[in-house]
Every structure is written in C-alpha cells, then in structure tokens.
C-alpha cells in the first residue's frame, strides 16, 4: 500500500498552461500551421460564397462550411478540417514530454514544488487551449465574413449548430493531441514520436476504410449484417465519428446514420430534402459520436498519465 501524497496535484497547472500556450502561439511551427488553416478557410469560404449567393436556404450560414461548387476539385471547409485538425494537434503535442527530456529541463522543472500530474495536465490543456483558440478565431472570421458577404444575420439555431460544430472539432483535436502526447512520452526522440503520430493519422485517413471493407467481406456473407459490421468498425476511427457529427450538425436534414451514409453525402450537397430536424433531435443523433470523441480523449490522456508516472526522470 502506497502512502498517500500531500499537497494538491493541481498546483502549478495554470502556470504550465500559460507557458505552453505562450510557447505554442509564438512558435514558428504554429505560425506555419495557422497560415495553412487560414489559407484553406479563405479559399473554401470564397468558393462557397460564390456558390451560395444565388440560392436561398433556411440554413445559409451552415452552408458556408459545407458547400462547394459541384465541379470544384477541392473539398469544402469541413472536409479540410477533417485532416488539418489532426495535423495541428500532432504538431502541438508530439514533443511535449520528450522535448523536455531533450532540452534537459524536465528534472529541473520537476524539482520545483509541483507534481508530475500538473506538468502533464498543463501541457495537455495548454495544447488544447491553443487549438481551441486558433479554431475559434477562424470560426469567428468565417462567421464575420459570412455576415459581411451574405448580408443576413444567422438565426439562433444556426449559431447553436455552429458552436456545436466548433466543440466537436475541438474534441476531435483533443483525440489527436492525446495520441501525440502518448507518443511523446513513449518515444525519447521527438522525430520518432512525430512520425508515429503521423503514421496513425495516415492509417485512419487512408487505410482504415479499406481494412474495414476487407474484414467485413471476409467475415460475414449476409449483406445487411456486413454493412452493420462495417459501420461498427468504421466508427472505431475518430475520423468517422467526427465526420458523422459534423454531417448531422451542419446539415439538419440528416436523420440517421447507418448504411445510408453515402446517400446522405449526396443529400448534404443536394436539395429536395424533407423537413429539417430541430437542434435537439440532431443533438440526440450525434450524442454517441460526440461522447465517443470526448471519451477517447480522456482515455488517451489517462494512458499518457500512467506512462508518465512510471517513467524515470533521469536521462
């Protein structure tokens, strides 16, 4: 039985958060990523606006995020976010702990009156806050641009849906930040950690879909159950969860997920959709996915916590 510790594990958390955020926001690395996101937002929103100005729609503002001209070679803004957010999160987290080892600052910082918990949590929270700050800024810019160009204010429901979309994006970033943090503790070399995190990202972006198809086809003959299995497996990927959440949030017409998903993809861009769902019903629809993302973030943080507590401090 271990003796209980005295003193708060929270002591110093906010100091670490402030330092991490200051580091992130002034770093060249973040500058480049912000530029990329900004550029993406500008281009996609510009194209979306050109496409939107002619149509009239009850959810004009939400279309800003999802609409693209049908002949456009690039996906809509949300499509970009699906792979940009993981990249930003990985960039924020891959050298969180091993970077301190590398600079030989870890033992010095831990010799101060704080617990390891505070350092790790502060680093995680610092990364998440930075991500939230960047995403919120871009979100506000898009809304502002929309106000300016569309000339109509968003309805209350649109704002609520927009906020939910922002929250889901941050939670999605949290998952990837967690993955990066785990690798930053597991691998002593920051480059190794970054590569490992990017490998996971590639795996889910490119290969997971193929693997799911293959596994489902091999295991089950019955077509409907095969589809069910595919859906179940696909949802193990945070990308799928995120995609489903933003589909339902930004497109009130989405009524269910499931084997019909490809059809709804078409609906997202097309018209002639039956009555849209109220916000509460959309929320109910995405509830499992949203909690799944948040739970994954917490689980990943817990893993990194255990790894970090067990690690020897000496280099």
């Amino acid at each position: 039985m271990r003796p209980s510790r005295e003193g708060s594990p929270w002591r110093g958390v906010w100091v670490v958060v402030a330092k991490e955020m200051a580091d992130h926001l002034t770093s060249v690395r973040m500058g480049i990523l912000e530029l990329v996101v900004l550029l993406t937002a500008a281009v996609t929103i510009y194209l979306a606006l050109q496409n939107l100005s002619s149509s009239s729609d009850a959810f004009l503002f939400l279309r800003l995020f999802t609409t693209m001209p049908s002949d456009s070679p690039i996906p809509a803004f949300v499509g970009f976010l699906g792979f940009l957010v993981p990249l930003i999160a990985i960039a924020l987290g891959f050298d969180a702990v091993n970077g301190e080892f590398h600079r030989r600052t870890l033992s010095r910082v831990l010799a101060q009156p704080i617990y390891r918990d505070a350092l790790l949590f502060g680093k995680f929270l610092g990364g998440l806050c930075t991500l939230a700050l960047v995403l919120t800024a871009i979100w506000l810019m898009i809304i502002g641009l929309g106000l300016f160009r569309l000339g109509v204010p968003p309805t209350g429901e649109e704002v609520a849906r927009g906020l939910l979309f922002l929250l889901a994006t941050i939670a999605y970033g949290g998952v990837w930040l967690g993955i990066a943090l785990v690798f930053s503790i597991q691998f002593r070399q920051p480059a190794t950690a970054a590569l490992a995190a990017i490998a996971v990202w590639l795996f889910f972006m490119v290969f997971w879909g193929m693997i799911v198809d293959l596994v489902a086809q091999v295991l089950i003959r019955d077509e409907l159950r095969q589809l069910e299995l595919k859906l179940f497996l696909a949802r193990l990927s945070p990308n799928t969860l995120y995609t489903e959440v933003i589909f339902a949030v930004l497109n009130p017409a989405v009524r269910a997920f499931g084997p019909l998903l490809p059809i709804q993809f078409i609906q997202l861009q097309g018209w002639g959709v039956p009555t849209p769902l109220p916000l509460s019903q959309s929320l109910l629809l995405i509830w499992p996915q949203l909690t799944g993302l948040i739970a994954a973030t917490i689980v990943l943080f817990a893993i990194s916590y255990v790894l970090f507590q067990r690690q020897e401090i000496r280099a």
């Binding site: 005295e6 002591r11 110093g12 600079r103 033992s107 010095r108 010799a111 101060q112 009156p113 704080i114």
Partner: protein, 315 residues
C-alpha cells in the same frame, strides 16, 4: 525536527535486477557541506532523486528537513534547490524569462519574483545578459544560471549533482567559491561529484559511494586515517647516516619511506614535525627541510578501490 537536515535509513532502490542504491544510511547536519563521492553509476544521482521524491525508493525511508519526500514532495521541493547534472534551459527564452517561469512554479508573487530574479542574476554575474536568449549561453553561464534559479527559491538545502563537470578550470574555481558562500549563509549543501580535489576543497565531510553503498564516511582526515593508515605525512630532508633508523623510532610513526637521496617521508596519525626534527638532529644529521603533506582524497580513493579489488581477487 531532528538534528539532521537530511537523513536516510536503509534507503534502497532496485531496478529489476540491478541495485542502484543499497541500504543507504546518510545523516547530514544543518549548515554542512557534504560531498557524495563515487564513480559513475555508483548511485549518487539515484540517491538525490529519491531525496527529492522524484524516484520512489524500493525500501527504507528518507527525511529532508523533517519531511518525507514520498508523501510530502511539495514541501521538500519548495525548500530544496536542485541543480541537476547537465542542466538545461528553454533556449528560446531569455535568462530572465526562464527564471520567471521557475518563480511562478514556486508560487512566488510577481513583484517579489522580479526583485529576487534581479538579485540572483546580479549575484551570479549574469545581470548584463539577463535579456539574452539562453541559447547563446556558454556552459559556465548556464551553470551559473542554474545557481541563480536555486537562489531564487531561498532554499534551506541545496543539492548539486556534478556541478563542475565540463567547466573550464577558472569557471570551476569560481563555482567552488559560490559553494563556499552558501556555507556562510548557513545553507546545507549536498554535493555529488567524482572530481575529488574539488570535493576536498569545499566539503566538510564526504561519503564514498561504491556500487550503491556508502563504504566510507567522514572528514577527509578521518578517511585518510582509515584508508591510508596515516593521515599525516611529514617530509624530512636531512643529510646523515642513519636518519631513517632514527625516524622509525619516533613514537607514533606508522611508516617511514626513503623517497630519494636524503628525503624521507614519515606517515603518522598526528603532526610529528617537531618530533621528527628532534630525532633527525639527535641522530647527528643535518636537517635541511621539514614539511607536512596533507593526504589527498585522490589517494584515499585510489587506495581504497585498489584494496577492494585486491580483496575481491583474493576471494
């Protein structure tokens, strides 16, 4: 609180099958400069990490200033300044910013911190480079910045791990002066090193570590008596026929060597200069010179480990 500032009882640390620290009993009084001496891998750093609560002991206990480092690490760490070997800083921050972060982690209020940082930097001779990035600092400057960071905390105990390693002779000498100054301020210092003459130059007492055990402990003179047999060496230069005989007869003389020509060395447990002079003159010799050589830790160290290896080969 007991009379000892640092006390350990049967402190043991095992890494799977390697015993890093083996039933260590250490007692350090207030205001003392205690040197931990030993080859690399003899358990010096592990001991320090256990004293700071950064590594969990497998067995035994430790008390620092009456606190248990395992249960009350925050209390310990807010009163103990620690300079790790190969100290690292955030290279992209200035000296002042680095110290400000540490001050915040220690919960020092901003105005107080500002004053203390300026004081500490001035005392370490870093005032002029306070606003330069640490990335441009030399090793000696980093080391002094490390001490400035310790001073910032106003510690009661200072633990230094290989502080002079990699410093040029002048910087090392300056550093020893800094350590001596701590004694004037009644700060207890624990100094781990394998650079013997430096330990000898500043330490009140030393403990000799070997394979996780403290094999010898005491003042340098005490160790010399234990290991070398004689703690004092009187050098006698005298021209005469049977000086060697006469010197051997002095009560208290442990051993007499003829070093060269007419130079003799008398090993003894006390200062025998007067007796040696008398004996030489009485033997009819011409006494040319008389000197006292203090034993060096170097010799004690080498002799001790020679003895240990000889013993091991025998058994």
């Amino acid at each position: 609180m007991s009379e000892f500032v640092i006390e350990t009882q049967n402190l043991t640390k095992r890494y799977s099958d390697v015993v890093a620290v083996d039933h260590l009993n250490l007692q350090i009084r207030a205001g003392e400069i205690f040197g931990i001496l030993g080859p690399n891998g003899s358990g010096k750093t592990t001991t320090i990490l256990m004293l700071l609560g950064l590594t969990e002991p497998t067995e035994g206990w430790a008390r620092v200033l009456g606190f248990d480092p395992m249960r009350q690490p925050l209390e310990v760490k807010s009163r103990v300044g620690y300079l790790p070997d190969q100290v690292g800083f955030y290279d992209e921050l200035t000296a002042r910013e680095n110290l400000a972060y540490i001050a915040k982690l220690n919960g020092v209020a901003r105005p107080v911190a500002h004053r203390r940082i300026t004081e500490a930097l001035e005392r370490m001779g870093l005032a002029e480079v306070a606003d330069r990035r640490v990335g441009t600092f030399s090793r000696g400057m980093r080391q002094r910045l490390g001490v400035a960071e310790i001073l910032l905390k106003h510690p009661q105990v200072i633990i230094l791990d290989e502080p002079t390693l990699g410093l040029d002779p002048e910087a090392a000498h300056e550093f020893l002066e800094i350590i001596r100054a701590f004694k004037q301020e009644k700060i207890t210092v624990l100094l781990a090193s394998h650079l013997l003459h430096q330990v000898q130059a500043v330490c009140d007492r030393v403990g000799l570590f070997s394979q996780g055990k403290m094999v010898l402990e005491g003042t340098v003179a005490e160790l010399a008596r234990q290991v070398l047999g004689g703690a004092y060496r009187v050098h006698v230069r005298a021209v005469g026929s049977n000086v060697s005989e006469a010197l051997r007869k002095i009560p208290g003389a442990v051993r007499v060597h003829k070093l060269d020509g007419d130079l003799y060395q008398v090993e003894a447990q006390e200062d025998l200069r007067a007796a040696a002079a008398r004996a030489a003159v009485q033997a009819g010799a011409q006494l040319l010179a008389l000197g006292l050589e203090e034993p060096s830790l170097d010799e004690i160290y080498q002799r001790y480990f020679q003895g240990v290896t000889a013993h091991e080969t025998q058994s």
